[in-house]
């Protein structure tokens, strides 16, 4: 269990580096995990080339979902929207450094789901997808 709740996860849960909201923003999306009531909102700012300059998350959730969000946002600063689309479940698990069962996997993957939904939403609205 001490392995599961690695120091990194507890530390990011208690003192996240990327917590907050961005207003205005270029991408903002939120979603829930109905099985546990986790709620995550992610706000992203892009530069004119579509590169992420800032990203923050808000909402409520367990240590896994919150740490996952924090590590995910850290990993996307300086990345393009197309590069973010390539981020996989495996990348998230590698960031967290733990094995997860099916229930907790949803917690870990909620931030990625929210981020991608936001990105594809942007694509839809300006007709580039």
């Amino acid at each position: 269990m001490e392995d599961f709740y690695r120091e990194l996860i507890i530390e990011r849960y208690k003192s996240p580096h990327y917590r907050g909201e961005l207003n205005p923003n270029d991408i903002s999306y939120e979603d829930d995990n109905p099985s546990c009531g986790d709620h995550i909102q992610i706000d992203v700012r892009l530069d004119e080339k579509g590169i992420v300059t800032e990203a923050l998350f808000s909402g409520e959730g367990c240590a896994i979902s919150q740490a996952s969000a924090d590590l995910l946002l850290e990993s996307i600063i300086g990345k393009s929207v197309d590069e973010i689309k390539e981020i996989s479940k495996e990348d998230i698990l590698e960031n967290l450094g733990i094995e997860l069962g099916p229930v907790r996997l949803k917690c870990a993957l909620l931030p990625l789901k929210v981020l991608k939904a936001g990105i594809y939403g942007i694509g839809d609205s300006d007709g580039s997808e």
């Binding site: 269990m1 709740y5 009531g37 709620h39 959730g61 367990c62 240590a63 907790r104």
Partner: protein, 414 residues
């Protein structure tokens, strides 16, 4: 302690009836099952009754003339009689087998609701309802343009009866209420609540999913027109539950599902419904499950519902006493006098999922989330809570293990 033993309830002997309780859940870690409000464990007598039914009897019921069919029909109908007697229903024909509490309430909403309600009618529920006694009425309200309103909860976790009496002046057509909250543990004082609803002209429905397993419910002396409960929370199998309904109402209601079993005669363009209770039991029912459900009420009756209630009350008091001593831990719901064996809690700055995950590593099964009562969590402004629910097989040692486990959670998050 000696006084407790003098009640004659030997929990260690009871535990031997439940094979899963001996399981080593992780290597070297015993199971501490504190999730019975979600579903209870099953005693050997229930498992064996169902196995014996399949090994010796299995046949479809009612129309068969052969010996197996007669035996299966007897087993099914005899289970119904024992379950009806267990809740002291005025008659066996008022006890309908359904899939569970949820299906029972959907049956009422669909069949009674669609026939007897019209636009702008008021349905009165409570803020502590489980989704099963909320969503069926929301669906119906959308369809028929009904009004829904809710008896609020006081800060102590009780129904606000002053507001209730004001709401009754608006002449609700239905008052739907849980007997015991699956989150707060509140046992609602239904005798008066239901009588007042009847005096105001309402039909009454009770969600008994959490009550029937834990204390004596007497339907001959309760003003409930409908009363729903599930087998699986009371030592019986999943897949079967019951709806008690007053005969006068059931007779006026159209069938819920159509098919075999619920008919007396069928022609190409018409059918005549079967008598109660079969009118509401379309298709081949869950026969083995009915047999298991019957064995479950036998098991509970043999232990004695009063003994079970006393054991759980003592254990719940002990759990509250111990958990209250943990700093930053808050328990939801009323004091022990008005509370059943459900202890929902949250720990400041630690999410319920993390609590449950760490407890699981100690073999302790609790539930984390909103327990299918999301509006209630919204009211308390909680994302999720952890819930330890106690039943007839739980012990003080298990409560101690829970307390130790929570201390471990706090260490990890310190």
């Amino acid at each position: 302690m000696a006084a407790k033993l003098a009640t004659g309830y030997d929990v260690n002997k009871v535990r031997k009836d439940f094979p899963v309780l001996t399981r080593e859940i992780h290597p070297g870690v015993a199971l501490t099952y504190l999730d019975s409000a979600a579903t209870s464990q099953k005693p050997n007598s229930v498992i064996e009754a169902m196995t014996a039914y399949y090994q010796d009897t299995n046949a479809n019921i009612h129309r068969g003339i052969h010996k197996l069919a007669e035996e299966a029909t007897y087993a099914y109908e005899n289970a119904r009689e024992r379950i009806a007697a267990f809740v002291n229903a005025p008659s066996t024909e008022e006890l309908i087998f359904t899939r569970n509490t949820t299906e029972s309430i959907n049956l009422v909403a669909h069949s009674w609701g669609r026939t007897f309600l019209k636009a702008d009618d008021l349905i009165l529920l409570t803020e502590m309802e489980h989704h099963s006694n909320l969503v069926p009425w929301q669906i119906l309200a959308n369809e028929l343009n009904l009004e829904l309103d809710f008896i609020p909860i006081t800060p102590e976790g009780l129904l606000d009866l002053d507001v209730y009496h004001d709401l009754l002046k608006r002449e609700p057509k239905l008052v739907g209420i849980t007997h015991m909250s699956n989150v707060l543990g509140t046992v609602n004082p239904l005798e008066k609540i239901l009588q007042d609803a009847k005096s105001a002209g309402a039909v009454t429905l009770v969600d008994g999913a959490q009550s029937v397993p834990h204390f004596r419910v007497d339907l001959s002396n309760l003003a409930a027109d409908f009363y729903a409960f599930s087998s699986h929370k009371m030592c019986g199998p999943t897949g079967i539950g019951a709806l008690f309904g007053r005969k006068e109402l059931l007779e006026k209601m159209p069938p819920f599902l159509g098919g075999g079993e619920m008919i007396k005669r069928v022609e190409l363009h018409s059918f005549k419904t079967a008598d109660l209770p079969h009118k509401f039991e379309a298709g081949t029912p869950a026969i083995a499950e009915a047999v298991g459900f019957g064995a479950a009420v036998d098991y509970l009756s043999n232990l004695g519902m009063d003994q079970i209630e006393r054991h759980e009350r003592s254990l719940t008091g002990y759990a509250i006493e111990k958990l209250t001593q943990i700093s930053d831990l808050h328990i939801l719901g009323p004091d022990i006098e008005e509370k059943g064996g459900v202890v929902s809690f949250f720990i400041e700055d630690i999410h319920a999922h993390d609590v449950a995950q760490i407890l699981d590593s100690k073999g302790i099964a609790v539930r984390a989330g909103h327990h299918c009562a999301q509006p209630l969590h919204t009211k308390y402004n909680l994302p999720a809570t952890s819930r330890a629910s106690l039943y007839l097989y739980n012990t003080r040692e298990e409560v101690d293990r829970l307390v130790d486990g929570i201390q471990k959670v706090k260490e990890i998050f310190a």
